[in-house]
Symmetry: D4
């Protein structure tokens, strides 16, 4: 089923070079807990095997280290993503709309945006339209209706996902964030809100996982 | 400070007959865990001391038992409240609006409504206007603006409280209900949602505690 | 934005008859906590307004009651869903594959299947292929690859969602179930597993929420 | 319903300049997670549109940065609030009493006090009257009775809210704080205590959310 | 250290007949999960070895079964305790005062009372003096001061333990009960309240564990 | 890797008939959530393919139903296990000792015992030796030392596992049970105790999972 | 009841100078969250009113600051306690034994020891006798039997409290500590273990609360 | 039973020098919460009594301090283990295979590896074979089958343990790690996954407890 094994064994890592073919996109490297050297080795192995390179939760310092040996590596400081595509993607699929409830949720939203763009999607943003002033999002109902899939990023009580879902015909991918006062319990409150959406058409990814939402929306958008 | 002790000692209970004077309303009897006989003894003691009688979470069978010895005891089957006022209340204060997100939340909403009415408040209801179809509540923005205080009763993700609060100038008392799928964890999800409201102006009472919300709204309304 | 209000006010319920137009499918009725009479009134209102009728978590007894006044109402006993479509749907979109990890997860899986079918999707099933005997699911890799979207229903540790996601190019909608020994904490274990999937491309709905998964997969499939 | 849109779009933020009119007070800026520049842009937009300015959880360093471009911006270091009112408020409504159980709860209590004062309320304070020495609060029963609404701020077991509520006719807004030994679980213990108050007339806001309590009490006091 | 083994082996049980000597009181039998026959065998073995017999959480039906073969076995229906002392105890130590916050907490309080009495303590009761009407307990401050040790039994928010402790020089043993609305989470709220008492001098036993509190107070009282 | 597919497809179930060869023991059937008919079909398929039959959490009624069509099916009512071995097992490996802390833990202990016996292990039992009377287990230190592997089954605080582990050279498999007062939270307390054992050499299985412990001990014992 | 008010009002604090008389020991100052200046003011007020001074969780730096203006203030660096007794206490009551399970639990144990000594108790210590090597504590059974009350301080699984309780006739005060691997959840595991002790005679104080245990044991010991 | 007491009393520690004889391996020193001096004293006492020395969670700085007075003390920086064996171990038992799901789990895996090696086991490693690319672990099925016992170290959703267990005849010891996004709740997600494994033959140790897994696997391997 997986002829020619499909991975490179670096000892500490088995780089999955079959992934681009099998899943449509290369193995993505989650950087926390890995040494600079390990990230470099894995990155090189991926590039050598003509896989796209996407590094999540990459701090700037490590990026600068990597950049020395990986020319044209790009970096988005807000999203904390490093990336280098093998070749230019043709945009396909419809428009993905990324919404944030507050301004404090923007870093997570940007992680989704960059992920989507690197994977070749057309992306639009709508930030700071939380339910405390619902006229803001209501103003954009027409924009909501143009999207093929919508990502809603929200902390605190995370109510925006249900509201948006109730206005559209497309799937809403909800991302709870860890932003908020004590009883948000680092995103647990928003997570439960989104899982319990009274409006069907919402599915949820991990807390602060903008990358996961972007990846999932990309799969829908193909 | 509390001259003449202010309570009747029945041994198993110390009935607080000072409460109507001290707090503006008599001691309310929470029925679960009490025997029929105990509820009867306490009720009689309250009435004898010219206190209003309000019995919460009273099942119908116990009501029928009590009715035999307490003439003119009334009962609201949906709210599970038995009551008998010492004298007719003059309505004072403004209008209290009780909103439910779904139809399954109505029993809790009714507990709030009956509590408010027995305590002498003018009450209005708006049921089944959850965020899955936000045009329903938006249709009633003018009604929302007429209230002095609003109670929002909601299970599942409980997002309605934030939304309503964002539209009005008055305090919103939020009641999470235990209604919903597994990850509502018997009301915990809605409770956390409401505590984390991004819209200031929301305070929260216990899960399924329609009585507590009604009582609190009454205090605001005086 | 919502001309002609878009709902019917039954007092205890505001039936959202704008939903089929706005969201592509009619308001779905979640039956627990509603009386038989209430379900009947809501159902009739929906049908009168040419909305599809889908009743979830409907027990057989209530179904039999409803059937008397709603001719041609259908019922799936395993999924506990009652339904009556306004007109025959033309199947569109690709194939949705519904997978269950164990046989005890089948009722939830069936809730997803019936939801999808009523909404007009082509559905295929693959049951009892949990990771305890991974050769079972590996045998069906080709089937997995034919789907447009996959639903994975799993209790206990819920590991199957990650595994399946790692084999395909399409989105995986994961449904944790409450089935398992004590430390499954009524589905919490499977829920956390699925939210933490190391394989990107998984999004999660509420515990035991087969309907929600079916609805979400339908939106993807359009 | 919201003619002329009612907000200013800064891209990263949609400043709600309709809020003062709609809700009686301007949009309040929660500072954590926002850059200094973002806070400055939002603040200027609010002031330009004749909204009051209230910045919560503002650290001193950022205040000093803002002060350079926003003359007459004030700061309360204990409450961590920056503010600048458009015009002097006439005190209206009754007296709001802010009570703290311990001295460690004072920063949260001060956040409530400053919020109330900026919003134009008459405020009185009563600090360090926890139930470990109940004679302290009992000494002030007359003061309690003069308030229109009472805020109780308490960490550890948070028992003071129930006690105070049992002595008065007015609503008690309870604020749990994160102060205490291990099993306070960062305020969870006090939060649950307050939600379960055996004395009706207590409603609860988020852990350490002095601002939210002040805002809510202000709404009651109008 | 334990000469002559000190227990009787019944196969399914090793009855600890050394306990009366070692710990001052015989092994107490917790009945849930044991068959009627097993309880009978263990009881007989204890009596045969001149140990006091105390059976907790014993339902009435099993009591009636046991009574047939164990003459003079006594039963307290409220406390659900069966017992038979080997010989009359001389009361020693001071007075133990058992306080309940509400009437719904009385069954747990009675479990403590009966345990204390069987173990030979002088016991006094003070029921229904919760903080919602604090004048009730304040009326009894002199009684509180006469006790050698005090047990406080309380559900809901459990605030009474802290309050009582703050008034006396003796240890307070706190018993949280599972009585209350949803967010009491079956006694968790009261448990946390009591563990976080701001008034030193409170220690806590398990939820609804009246027996454990009685036993512990007995040890203090010797 | 899995030639000839290795399972029988019954539609609702894929019976893993490769398991006896691959894992050393046949697929075990967990009965809750399966219909009587489904259990019968799966059982027959297993027997037809010369797999051992082990049915866990089987209630007596279903056993009696199965017995009609599966001759010589055996049943242990305490362990709630039905079984039928293909051929007599030769006892191999050392002795497995199953210990219970209390008598209420015996049903879970018996589930382990029967599992072990059906799988062909020599088993010994030691029941009711909890730490409340530590001389009981200390009396059996020599017996402990004769075992190859020890299973400790304990509810309440579950301390016995650490104690036993500290006395022996062999692995201790710990099974928390759901037996205990309120703050055992249905086995969570014992589960955490065992996971945090200060004595290395303890590993833990799911709450009340006697079968899992027996199975794991069997693997060690081979 | 509290003539002459019984406290000094410093504005930010109401120092309870009635406490020594009412409770047998002065108000104890919990230092976290208080400024150096506040601690100094409170300390002086207490000393001026002839109350003993006990400062818990006092860091060394603040101690050095206080020492300048409070001569003869003492400090125990391990226990983090500052203290100054008004006059020498005569030792009364029996012996209090403080036991720690491991060496990492010693700081909490020392907090109990110093508290007890300052309050005038005879104290003995027994450290590092956890159940992983049970022969250590068994060696000291005679010492255990000499105590009037025993404090057991333990992290990880906290099993030692049950074991010790099972060997003695005196009350055991259990202190869970936050020491341990991940699933100790900062002391929650040990807390639950101790609350669920199968051996009656154990009561529990807050996580890491050595002071509370010392105070409680002192009350028993009088 | 423990002649000659079996421990050395250092006051702050009772070093268990009977452990090597009783349990097959010396007392292991868990370093967090101990001072450098304490670790040195304990280490010397162990070595003096001819016990093997194993120091877990030892930071490099403390190692360097210890090395000065303990010649030939070794250190593994990744595993954070210091050790010094009394004499060379002959490898006995079979092969222990240590598997990690991701590269971020390697430090925990290495803690297991070093523990096993110091205790005299033959160890093999297989890193980065998580279920996101299941072909990697499938490639090594033959290697899996050669092991006597397998340790699986995994964070995030921890699904690998179930999968591996389903492929082999030997016990799988599962170690959840704290690595992952927000809803991993510091390893809780992986812990629950592993406890709920649908594949029997998995037992679990504490979060991040590589040492505990190594120790347990060693006991199996003897």
């Amino acid at each position: 089923m997986f002829p020619k094994s499909g991975f490179c064994d670096l000892g500490f890592a088995k780089v999955d070079i079959d992934r681009q073919k099998r899943r449509g996109f290369a193995e993505v490297v989650y950087c926390p807990g890995k040494t600079k050297k390990d990230i470099k080795s894995i990155s090189r192995q991926l590039l050598k095997n003509k896989q796209d390179l996407l590094l999540t939760r990459l701090d700037k310092k490590t990026f600068l280290y990597l950049k020395k040996s990986i020319p044209r590596l790009k970096y988005n400081v807000l999203a904390k993503i490093g990336y280098k595509a093998t070749k230019k993607k043709n945009l396909k699929g419809g428009l993905v709309l990324v919404i944030s409830a507050g301004t404090s949720d923007i870093p997570v939203a940007e992680e989704a945006v960059v992920t989507l763009e690197v994977m070749g999607n057309k992306v639009s943003k709508l930030y700071d339209v939380g339910v405390a002033g619902v006229h803001r999002v209501m103003k954009y109902v027409d924009s909501l209706k143009k999207a093929t899939v919508i990502i809603v990023v929200a902390g605190m009580e995370g109510a925006l996902a249900s509201l948006v879902s109730g206005l559209v015909k497309v799937p809403v991918v909800a991302v709870p964030t860890s932003c908020g006062y004590g009883a948000s319990f680092k995103g647990l409150a928003a997570l439960l809100t989104m899982l319990n959406s009274c409006s069907p058409g919402v599915a949820v990814v991990n807390i602060d996982n903008g990358f996961g939402a972007g990846y999932f929306a990309h799969l829908i958008n193909q």
